[in-house]
């Protein structure tokens, strides 16, 4: 009853061909390589800066904190590492992981490998919400800043992110998925609106408000501290776990919304949760580090090229690679023009935007169909 694989009379009987997919890297190998890369980068990044600490000293300080060994470094090195460098690299890794995983989630949700929180306006929507909160928050709700403390900006960014993601999704959706053209155009419009309003907010802002706002436009990890790293980690765990639980449904979405529904996926719930958790991830990143673009585009894309599009591999892979990319970019941003510091968002855009252009050109014909 089976269809013969190579029917003698079939004009289209396929020749067995060795495909490039056989060359996919197995997931455990991928995760292992990425984890080693991330750890090496973390150690290097923790040591680089105006006050250099060698990698062996970084490891020695760690071991002494664990009570394993002692010596090989002085107290000042330990102080710099523990209070300045470590929060920063931890924050960078956390933000990068969140951005990478949010990118992977959005690309599955939008059924489109070009969806990136920065490009489609989610980051700027979140940044706008934060800017408005800084400038007008205490006007509308006296005492807001002190009452909510560190949680205020992530909350504002989260709301801004959810609203923008919903908008882009509504604007770009067609029966065949989200149209690239509509999605990117919606992103342009939303970015323009957000930047105009952020500009307006900074125009009326006080000097102090302005100082706390400037770094969003460019993105920076300079606000790192243990409390910030703690808030990002706590919120990040929720976002990462929330997105990870959607992996099977997101795989089915590749077939289409109706097809996913026929396979038993609760599509409406999947969409809502994807938007909430990816907006939470992007919101956390934006709230403390401003707009760091293209990590969410580059990381999932590289993982898919290396290991295939299965969300069960792409999600953790993008988190690891996103973390490594962000930590690496921050080191470069800190040391390239030392003693000054280049905003990391500028660096990721300089590298990420050409990458995006190449993707766009390579798939031009196909992508404009939607």
């Amino acid at each position: 009853m089976a269809i013969a694989s190579t029917p003698p009379a079939s004009p289209t009987s396929p020749t067995p061909a060795r495909s490039r997919d056989a060359g996919r890297l197995p997931a455990p190998v991928l995760f292992g390589v990425l984890a080693v890369l991330l750890i090496v980068l973390l150690v290097l990044a923790a040591g680089r800066g105006a006050y250099p600490i060698s990698p062996s000293q970084v490891v020695a300080i760690f071991l002494s904190k664990l009570g394993v060994s002692d010596g090989g470094f002085d107290a000042q090195q330990m102080g710099v590492l523990w209070t300045i460098r470590l929060p920063r690299v931890v924050l960078g890794a956390g933000i990068g992981a969140l951005l990478g995983m949010a990118g992977a989630t959005m690309q599955s949700l939008f059924r489109n490998p070009l969806a990136d929180p920065g490009l489609i306006g989610v980051s700027s929507g979140a940044a706008l919400a934060v800017a408005l909160t800084i400038v007008f928050g205490n006007l509308w709700w006296p005492g807001l800043t002190t009452q909510l403390g560190l949680a205020l900006y992530p909350l504002a960014a989260f709301v801004g992110g959810v609203v923008t993601t919903l908008l882009v999704y509504r604007i770009g959706r067609t029966s065949l998925g989200v149209s690239v053209a509509a999605m990117l155009l919606a992103g342009i419009a939303l970015n323009a609106i957000a930047f105009a309003l952020i500009g307006l907010a900074s125009y009326v802002a006080t000097d102090e408000q302005l100082r706390s706002m400037t770094f969003w436009n460019l993105g920076s990890l300079a606000a790192a501290s243990w409390p910030v790293a703690g808030v990002v980690s706590a919120g990040g765990v929720i976002a990462v776990f929330g997105m990870w639980r959607l992996r099977v449904g997101l795989n089915a979405m590749a077939l289409g919304e109706a097809e996913a529904r026929h396979l038993g996926v609760h599509v409406d719930r999947l969409k809502t949760l994807s938007i909430i958790f990816s907006a939470l991830a992007v919101g956390l990143a934006v709230a403390f580090c401003g707009m760091i673009g293209f990590i969410g585009l580059v990381a999932p894309h590289c993982i898919r090229l290396i290991a295939g599009p299965d969300a069960r591999v792409v999600m953790p892979g993008s988190a690891l690679l996103g973390a490594a990319l962000t930590v690496g970019a921050d080191v470069v941003a800190r040391t390239l023009v030392a003693p000054a510091e280049m905003p990391i968002g500028v660096l990721t855009a300089l590298i990420g935007a050409p990458f995006f252009l190449v993707l766009l050109l390579r798939g031009k014909g196909r992508m404009m169909e939607g």
Binding site: A2, P14, R261, H262
Partner: protein
């Protein structure tokens, strides 16, 4: 096929509206009634715009009917739980897309999403479905590298895998037949003649062997007549014929329904229908 059994699908007086640009509702299906028995292969034919795909979309739950009733296995379709439904009903859309470059094997295994069972069992079911659809040799290929016809067969394998019986290739005789339903929208549209017949054979054997009720929309009356246990013809959103292929696909009927000149040859294996432009 026996029709004394309780039908796996019963459509009663179904009417579906489509809102037009002006705002007025236009009935795309009018008072359509249909039953599908377990193990029965029903071929749904009709000219473009007759409502074949709309009927299939309504039965698959993608379109809400304006009035009428759709019962699956004796229970209203809307009362079925999403997951339970996915375990006994599979739907193949007319145009199946894929937004990411999954391999053939991964796509077919996605069909097993709602199934319960060990990873090894599900992988075996997916392999059996792939073999049946003749795409087992493509397992490691990326979907993006395949021709349209190959992709169509992979998606057929995916929906077969969704309701493929655990017994596998073993004959199901003696065991309780499944109460499954398979809905295929134009499964042969992008296939060459060899694969058209191959797919129809697989689908018919699957229906008869597993007791699955199958509804297939089909443009090719030749295939509909040769493989269908029953042929249902739609015209302007209404059922105009419903019966054995031999009785429905008469020369006059084909000529009137499709506005073509037709010839019918009753061959020993089944009937052949050939068409040419209307001469009149």
């Amino acid at each position: 096929m026996t029709s004394v059994q309780a039908p796996v699908l019963r459509v009663d007086a179904l009417t579906v509206h489509r809102r037009q640009r002006g705002g007025a509702d236009h009935a795309v299906l009018r008072d359509v009634s249909l039953t599908v028995a377990p193990g029965e292969l029903v071929m749904l034919i009709g000219p473009n715009g007759a409502g074949k795909s709309t009927l299939l979309a309504a039965v698959s739950g993608d379109l809400a009917p304006a009035s009428g009733r759709i019962d699956f296995d004796g229970k209203p379709l809307a009362s079925w739980h999403r997951k339970t439904l996915a375990q006994c009903r599979a739907v193949l859309p007319q145009r199946a897309g894929l937004s990411l470059p999954f391999t053939v094997q991964e796509v077919i295994q996605l069909g097993c999403l709602a199934r319960t069972g060990s990873h090894a069992t599900l992988a075996r079911l997916a392999d059996e479905a792939a073999t049946a659809a003749g795409v087992d040799h493509l397992a490691d290929r990326s979907m993006t590298q395949l021709s349209g016809g190959e992709q169509a067969r992979v998606h057929l394998a995916r929906v077969l895998a969704q309701i493929w019986p655990e017994g596998g290739h073993a004959a199901q005789t003696g065991t309780e037949p499944t109460r499954n339903l398979l809905l295929l929208d134009e499964p042969c549209a992008s296939l060459d003649p060899h694969h058209q017949h191959a797919v129809c054979t697989v689908v018919r054997d699957f229906a008869h062997r597993t007791g699955t009720g199958v509804v297939v929309t089909m443009h090719d009356m030749n295939l509909a007549g040769q493989y269908g246990d029953r042929v249902v013809a739609l015209l302007d959103g209404a059922v105009v014929a419903n019966g054995r292929p031999h009785d429905v696909l008469t020369r006059t009927f084909v000529q009137q329904c499709f506005a073509v000149d037709a010839a019918r040859i009753d061959a020993d294996g089944g009937l052949l229908v050939a068409t040419r432009p209307w001469a009149g």
